[in-house]
């Protein structure tokens, strides 16, 4: 971030020292800048055919009949399949949920629908043809007869109104009814408190809109019975496992999943969707490579959406502004099917952060997860924590007003103090470390908070409405400690795996189980390895995103790559170093205490000329001629790092806006982000993550939000109807940081991928509401468009 960036140099340092923490330019960039990088859609295989998927344009309907004969007869069409064909093939055909909750209803989730379609966009038939155009042409020639059913798209209506169930297994459309916290303690706190303030809020659906649409190329080889799939994946190993055990039944050791360049994900490329399984299944049927690429419009109705919460939340307070308790009741839309983390996101990832940065003695949260006739909802950047922090930050605003305090002062008064860490919140998390006030002060200083408040007063007299929004956040990043996650219902581990290998000529290869979609892992991981082993960056190769080259991994989501993936690399590198040290001691004929390791070289204390560089030792390790008694040759280590806790990045963002009450227009005057993600590996990359995160948070606050029409189909289905922010809609960002290392992470890092998205939405909403305080506006739902403001100010009357 700016502080650190000034301290560290930018560019490639020529030796390994000082590499960790400096803004090294990215090794990813050249292929991406020159057009040489291959995304999945750029992959082409000999004899490749093209898949297009016929999708339901109804939200809820029974499939009466599908006539594929005309499509099949078209020239250039290789095959047309329906859901029945997949069932008949005998593959497992089941997309599983990855997180169980008590009482969870888990309906069947097939890769092509058979009995009913439950949301617009659900796949009903597949065409494989010689060209993508031909495949799309043939889609129109498939005749699907539907019997339409009533549908429901809103989570509250789904469980409260008398509507036909999305799944027969859940008559009332309730997938789960989740509770966290101490209800009794909360009752007491509310009964004793001087004030209670409340807010009803809606967090609309977000369409992730990674710029690269999802895609897959599958190649089944009859001879070896091996399946190779290139796909837009944030976690190729998870996809390998789910393709094997969930949908296709091909043994895991005969599937290779490759994630080449991936053009953004933000959560949407974590999941096992039906489409890549259909692509692979078609390839297996035809014995030839098959490619599928989503159009943007398909993406809108099939990429898992984010958020979709309806919440009533309350905060109990004393006269002096002390928070006594918080409670929230949320209806979360899950969509028509359970996507892998669709259950975890609105339950554990949400309710557990409701304490925010504050001492809240009593917390209770209930979440009803509802099936609706909509695109499945799952984790989107900030997943769960964004929704939870939004709730507590909105409550801190209404609470401040209830006790007549300045919102920043009110927040400050309730902050968890540095000496209280590790801090066990009433929402079941143990925060690892934090100095909340330091970051908050820094952010307020950047904007000149006191002066701004004065300016706000003056402008109000002129009939201009300036608003200042302060949002504090803390999040549970670095998914996740396996044991804890398992206790809570996770069906997958939370570790990450890495191999650090010296090659016999002294170069170093790092293999990581995470998968990049723009975060620059190959750069930061090389920086970690350089730091740990004293090897020049140019001698380090980092490999990611191919299950045949990297044996195991969990992938990239939940801000986990630097902390969990980086942790695994650091630990593997340290094991490599200690083996190298044994060899050095042996060959230098010195005892352990006499040998020091400094910037890649082992030398004898006080005799720097008696030394061996670790890269020379690598050569010795593979030569095997002169190793310590009983030592095996080679110099590589595998590490599975399972963190003992989440990491807890935090910070304060401040948005300064001006709202024009006439037009309802909001303009952002200034945006300041102070983030603390622990130790910083590469300040340039961290800043980039913060920038992108802010953009998505502002997008949610002011522009985005998917809407369904009365017929249950998506109204915002194109880029001109759903506003992905463009360059003129966003301000310049001012970033800064503080560094509070995570005490339990091997590198002290906390992760930063999601932080800014979590902070930005509440900061901007708070600012707009603050601007409109003279109009007695307490809260406005996102997206706060000019129309939202205009209506709130009575424009509709």
């Amino acid at each position: 971030m700016s502080d650190a960036a000034e301290g560290g140099g930018v560019g490639e340092p020529d030796d390994a020292e000082g590499v960790f923490g400096s803004g090294v330019e990215r090794r990813e960039d050249i292929p991406l800048l020159t057009g040489e990088g291959d995304y999945t859609a750029d992959v082409s295989r000999p004899g490749m055919a093209h898949l297009a998927i016929r999708r339901s344009d109804h939200a809820h309907a029974r499939i009466v009949d599908i006539d594929t004969s005309e499509a099949e007869a078209m020239e250039g069409v290789a095959a047309v399949y329906t859901g029945e064909d997949v069932v008949d093939s005998g593959v497992p055909n089941s997309i599983p949920t990855a997180w169980m909750l008590p009482g969870l209803v888990t309906p069947q989730y097939r890769i092509l629908a058979t009995d009913k379609v439950r949301h617009e966009g659900s796949g009903v038939a597949a065409v494989v043809a010689e060209s993508p155009q031909r495949a799309r042409d043939a889609l129109d020639r498939i005749d699907v007869e539907y019997e339409e059913l009533d549908q429901v798209t809103e989570p509250v209506e789904a469980v409260e109104k008398d509507v036909p169930p999305v799944h027969e297994e859940a008559e009332d459309n309730v997938a789960f009814d989740f509770e966290l916290g101490d209800e009794e303690a909360v009752e007491e706190a509310f009964a004793d408190a001087d004030h209670v303030a409340s807010v009803d809020l809606r967090q609309p659906r977000i369409v992730p809109n990674a710029m690269e649409p999802r895609a897959a190329v599958a190649e089944w080889e009859d001879r070896t019975e091996k399946l190779r799939v290139w796909m837009t994946s944030q976690n190729p190993h998870l996809h390998r496992m789910l393709l094997s055990a969930g949908t296709l039944g091909v043994p895991e050791n005969r599937i290779e999943v490759i994630a080449p360049e991936v053009g953004g994900g933000f959560g949407s490329k974590i999941y096992h969707y039906p489409d890549e399984a259909v692509t692979a299944w078609c390839s297996m049927q035809l014995g030839r490579p098959v490619k599928w690429r989503a159009s943007r419009q398909e993406g809108y109705v099939t990429d898992c959406h984010g958020r979709d919460h309806d919440t009533t939340a309350e905060i109990a307070l004393d006269d002096d502004g002390t928070v006594r308790g918080v409670r929230a009741e949320t209806h979360a839309g899950l969509g028509a099917q359970l996507s892998q983390f669709g259950t975890a996101t609105p339950s554990y990832l949400y309710a557990t952060v409701l304490s925010g940065q504050y001492t809240v003695p009593a917390i209770h949260c209930r979440v009803v997860g509802a099936f609706t006739n909509t695109t499945p909802v799952d984790a989107y950047r900030g997943a769960g924590r964004a929704e939870g922090i939004y709730v507590i930050e909105r409550l801190m605003d209404v609470g401040a007003r209830a006790v007549g305090m300045d919102p920043a002062e009110f927040r400050r008064k309730n902050l968890v103090q540095p000496e209280e860490f590790p801090y066990e919140s009433a929402a079941a998390l143990v925060y690892d470390s934090g100095e909340y006030e330091r970051a908050m002060d820094k952010a307020l200083e950047h904007v000149g908070y006191e002066d701004l408040r004065e300016r706000q007063e003056r402008l109000r007299e002129e009939g201009r409405y300036l608003g200042i929004g302060v949002a504090n956040f803390v999040e549970s990043a670095g998914l996740s400690p396996s044991g804890l996650a398992g206790d809570l219902g996770s069906q997958a581990g939370g570790w990450e795996s890495s191999i650090v290998r010296f090659d016999s000529t002294g170069t170093l290869t790092v293999m990581a189980g995470t998968a990049d979609q723009g975060q620059g892992h190959r750069t930061t991981y090389a920086q970690i390895a350089a730091e740990e082993l004293g090897v020049d960056l140019e001698d380090i190769e980092v490999i990611e995103g191919d299950t045949d080259r990297i044996p195991q991994g969990m992938g990239t989501y939940g801000s986990r790559s630097a902390s969990v993936g980086g942790g695994a690399i650091a630990r593997a590198a340290r094991e490599v170093r200690s083996k190298a040290r044994e060899i050095a001691e042996h060959q230098l004929e010195a005892s352990s205490e006499d040998v020091v390791f400094d910037d890649g070289t082992f030398h004898i204390e006080g005799a720097p000329d008696r030394s061996l560089h670790i890269q020379e030792i690598a050569h010795e390790a593979y030569l095997g001629h002169d190793l310590p008694e009983g030592m095996d040759p080679g110099l590589e280590e595998t590490n599975f790092y399972d963190p003992e806790n989440f990491t807890y990045p935090f910070g304060t963002h401040v948005a300064v806006v001006e709202v024009d009450p006439e037009t309802g227009e909001t303009s952002i005057e200034e945006y300041v982000a102070v983030d603390d993600c622990g130790e910083v590996i590469n300040p340039m990359i961290v800043e980039g993550q913060v920038h992108g995160g802010i953009a998505q948070g502002i997008g949610a606050a002011l522009y985005e939000g998917a809407a369904y029409g009365d017929d249950g189909t998506l109204e915002t289905r194109r880029m001109d109807e759903y506003a992905v922010p463009h360059a003129t809609q966003l301000p310049d960002f001012e970033t800064d940081n503080t560094v509070t290392p995570s005490p339990h992470n091997p590198l002290g890092v906390k992760g930063v991928g999601e932080s800014a998205t979590i902070a930005a939405a509440p900061a901007v909403v708070s600012a707009v509401v603050d601007a409109l305080e003279p109009f007695d506006i307490e809260h406005l739902d996102m997206p706060i468009t000019p129309e939202t403001v205009w209506r709130a100010l009575g424009g509709a009357e």
């Binding site: 723009g518 880029m719 992905v724 360059a727």
Partner: protein, 160 residues
């Protein structure tokens, strides 16, 4: 489907090809000629990922049929760097961390590079306007604006 014989000169190299009347320019470039640098993000003219230069103008290549470009001189991202040397603008994107996933980058480079040819000392607001039609979901644009601004102020010479 009627087919047409057309000529496209791409990054100085002349190609003759047969395309269907409905083949989009971006499809011809990517699928027929193998210039996969231009990306397809929306195929409806909304994202700018497919931007190339056609006879000197930046153009979203999903908004033109290939036959409409018959005889045109086309520049794609593959033609920006010479013998492995990044252009001034490409290097500036790298220095300023103006790209993350890189999917929008080819289009961004072509749009911004074309803008820089005529822009005199552009303000940040003008740069933002110039790239307004190119969506980026990763960077929040700040560093892209930095990258373009730096080339404009340093007089980075031929930006493309």
């Amino acid at each position: 489907m009627s087919e047409h014989e057309i000529t496209l000169t791409v990054n100085g190299e002349k190609h003759e090809l047969r395309v269907e009347a409905r083949t989009l320019l971006v499809e011809a470039l990517r699928e027929e000629l193998g210039y996969t640098g231009a990306n397809v993000g929306c195929e409806t003219g909304r994202c700018g990922a497919c931007t190339v230069r056609v006879d000197g103008d930046a153009l979203k290549s999903c908004t033109r049929f290939a036959v409409q470009a018959d005889g045109a001189e086309i520049e794609t991202v593959e033609g920006l760097s010479e013998e492995g040397e990044l252009s001034g603008l490409q290097a500036s994107f790298k220095r300023n961390h103006g790209l993350q996933c890189g999917f929008c980058t080819p289009g961004m480079l072509l749009t911004a590079g074309t803008f820089l040819e005529d822009a005199e000392d552009p303000s940040r607001a003008e740069i933002r306007e110039a790239i307004e039609g190119n969506l980026c979901r990763c960077t929040g644009y700040h560093n892209i604006v930095d990258a373009v601004e730096q080339v404009a102020t340093d007089g980075g010479g031929e930006s493309l």
